[in-house]
């Protein structure tokens, strides 16, 4: 080996060590996510943000289903991942007493999971996104404007005075007591059998498509709140002021030790999640689900456009 090569090798080594040392200064954080595209999108946002702030990020996106990802967090195999309040209440705190009606109220359910998770598992919930990704009813915007329908209260009144409504959904949506029947119960209306179009195993994208194109006379659809297709198809979501459905708001969940060591993480992620309103998330999800863009690309473009990445 000649001298010059030795020198350049030494230089390379020095650079590598320096960058390692620099990275070491900020520390290493492992980020995970669940399998769904919104989970991956949020995970990628957190990865890009922390990397930009100088952290070394070990990304494990996606990590697995709810159970696997949560277990990885508890066992310290990942340090942070986005979780939904409703999902946490349903799955993580089985033995705990949850006040009636709390799951349907956004602020209250967030407060519950935040307190319980910190107390029981030393896991911190950072700022949540003001968007609810739960079962919802979506109707064409034209109908909403013409009849002045904004919430399920308006919709129930419309149906009860004989307004034309035919809703398309999956079997599960119509049969599970905490899905459509809970809307009927909370808002005091009842659809006849011929007002429901049941498609076994239907996805929300299929039902939204059917409602948008008036298939079989359908003019309402089973939907998830943050579905990307909603706006693209000219649909709007009826709000749920009485909280018939548990609230599913996404927020970063961080291991307490990690947050204690790097408290700046909260400051980095909170403004981002604060900005993820329902229309914003719908739009980002649309880019992934409808346009087929990769989650990390959508995340990068969004963060850059908002000035989080420079």
């Amino acid at each position: 080996m000649n001298r010059k090569r030795l020198q350049s090798l030494g230089l390379l080594l020095a650079v590598t060590l320096t960058s390692l040392a620099l990275a070491q200064q900020k520390g290493t954080v492992a980020i995970g996510s669940k399998l769904d595209s919104e989970g991956q999108l949020l995970g990628q946002m957190m990865r890009l943000t922390l990397e930009h702030a100088g952290f070394t990020v070990k990304a494990q996106i996606p990590t697995g289903n709810t159970f696997v990802t949560r277990k990885a967090l508890i066992e310290g195999q990942i340090d942070i991942y986005p979780e939904y309040t409703g999902s946490a209440i349903n799955n993580f705190f089985k033995g705990q007493k949850i006040p009636d009606g709390a799951p349907s109220r956004a602020a209250q359910s967030f407060a519950i999971v935040k307190t319980l998770d910190l107390k029981l598992n030393n896991i911190s919930w950072l700022e949540r996104a003001p968007a609810n990704n739960t079962f919802a009813v979506a109707i064409p915007k034209t109908l909403a404007v013409r009849e002045g329908l904004k919430s399920l209260v308006n919709l129930a009144a419309y149906v009860n005075k004989g307004g034309v409504l035919k809703i398309v959904g999956s079997q599960e949506f119509f049969e599970r007591s905490d899905a459509f029947p809970s809307f009927e119960k909370a808002y005091g209306f009842k659809l006849k059998a011929d007002q429901k179009v049941v498609i076994a195993g239907a996805t929300t994208s299929q039902t939204e498509q059917a409602a948008a194109s008036n298939t079989d006379g359908a003019n309402a659809a089973m939907a998830y709140g943050t579905d990307g297709a909603i706006a693209a198809l000219g649909l709007v979501v009826m709000t749920d002021p009485k909280g018939a459905q548990p609230v599913y708001q996404p927020a970063p969940t961080v291991r307490g030790e990690v947050l204690k060591k790097y408290p700046e993480i909260a400051g980095l992620l909170n403004p981002i999640f604060k900005g993820l309103t329902l229309p914003v998330l719908q739009n980002l999800n649309r880019q992934i689900d409808l346009e087929g863009k990769a989650p990390q690309e959508v995340a990068r473009t969004y963060l850059a456009s908002k000035g989080f990445l420079k």
Binding site: L35, D36, Q40, A72, D289, E291, G292, A294
Partner: protein, 383 residues
């Protein structure tokens, strides 16, 4: 008289192709990635469809030729049908798509069936062809032309290719991970499976125990197994942090390979057991009687005679592992399952296909590779 009793495979393939062309949609046009689409028959897609139909009628007629004429004609026409339909799929897809960015075109039943039936035609020709080089040529022309069309972007309007293009940066990474997982798992499965099979063959009591145990392992639901492994691996890494520098963690490669090994074990152990049991008792007695030591008997008689079945077990395991490695994505180890489960989660069938098609191709290639190895390893005198 050049007519003879017709080649049934060719006629079957031809009828299948013609009826599917007439009756079923050729391509599916979807307004966006998620919604159900509307089928488009080939004959709605312009004059080219009629040409393909004509070609198929020609194939049907040629099935009645004498084998000597029939084989080359079928070989050429079969490949022509295959290539023509691939080109047609690409061209029709791009014309259907127009300039829409949201719309997707995917392959519908008629196109799948016509691809399948053209391979029927090619296989019918292979049956009749005698020259080995002609056989190879017949087999490879279609594949090569297909690859050429694929690589030059002739199919880039298809939804699966669209998915590929948007995930260009991660696709090959995941393919590599997938292969790495399957290969490493095969290695560890062999590491444990080969000696287990050997012990099972040596002792009757062990045989039941080992087969029972590895069958039991196979029945554990994969998702449950993956989740179960997080805790012990995490504890292990906490106890010996040095392990982490080898990439061993509670999630990711280590538990994934452990789970895969559990599933890959049985076929290998069973292959060794069956192979050793199939060695004729008389050969063993002759070897012993001539003064072979146990080691000489094993390496000189048992191993060569059992090798075919042992490799058969390894092949079964390898093919299974290529498929099962999709599960690794459920525990953060990546692989092609990322696309499959991601697609299933958001009901994006094209994304599912982006994961499933490569898995299928890898499985077929793995199978073919090991079969070749198996054939080569069977002693000449036993073929």
């Amino acid at each position: 008289m050049i007519l003879t009793n017709p080649n049934r495979i060719a006629i079957l393939g031809c009828l299948l192709a013609i009826s599917s062309l007439v009756l079923l949609p050729f391509l599916e046009l979807k307004a966006n990635r998620l919604v159900a689409g509307t089928g488009k028959g080939l004959l709605e897609l312009g004059a080219a469809g009629w040409w393909l139909l004509g070609l198929l009628v020609l194939v049907g007629l040629s099935a009645f030729l004498k084998p000597r004429f029939r084989a080359p004609v079928l070989a050429i026409l079969g490949n022509l049908v295959f290539i023509a339909s691939v080109i047609l799929i690409g061209a029709a897809a791009s014309s259907l798509l127009g300039s829409s960015t949201l719309a997707r075109v995917s392959i519908a039943p008629a196109a799948w069936l016509i691809l399948v039936s053209s391979s029927f035609l090619i296989f019918a020709a292979l049956n009749d062809l005698e020259n080995i080089w002609l056989k190879r040529l017949t087999l490879s022309v279609g594949i090569l032309v297909f690859l050429a069309i694929l690589l030059t972007g002739g199919l880039s309007s298809l939804s699966v290719i669209r998915e590929y293009q948007t995930r260009l940066d991660t696709f090959w990474l995941e393919v590599g991970r997938h292969l790495g997982l399957a290969f490493l798992a095969l290695l560890t499965s062999s590491l444990f499976g080969l000696p287990l099979g050997f012990w099972a063959a040596r002792s009757k009591g062990f045989e039941g125990l080992i087969l029972g145990f590895s069958s039991l392992l196979q029945t554990i639901p994969s998702l449950a197994l993956l989740a179960l492994l997080i805790t012990p691996f995490s504890a292990l890494v906490r106890a010996f942090p040095v392990l982490e520098s080898f990439g061993i963690r509670g999630i990711g490669f280590a538990p994934a390979i452990t789970a895969l090994t559990v599933y890959g074990l049985l076929p290998i152990a069973r292959g060794v057991l069956n192979g050793l049991k199939a060695v004729p008792e008389t050969a063993l007695e002759a070897g012993r009687g001539m003064g072979m030591t146990p080691n000489q008997l094993f390496s000189g008689v048992e191993l060569p005679l059992a090798l075919g079945l042992i490799l058969n077990g390894i092949r079964t395991s390898a093919v299974q592992l290529v498929g099962l490695s999709t599960l690794s994505s459920l525990i953060g180890a990546g692989g092609l399952g990322v696309f499959i489960f991601g697609g299933l989660g958001s009901a994006a069938n094209d994304l599912v296909l982006l994961g499933a098609i490569p898995v299928l191709v890898l499985a077929v290639l793995t199978d073919a590779g090991f079969r070749t190895l198996e054939q080569a390893s069977i002693p000449k005198g036993c073929r």
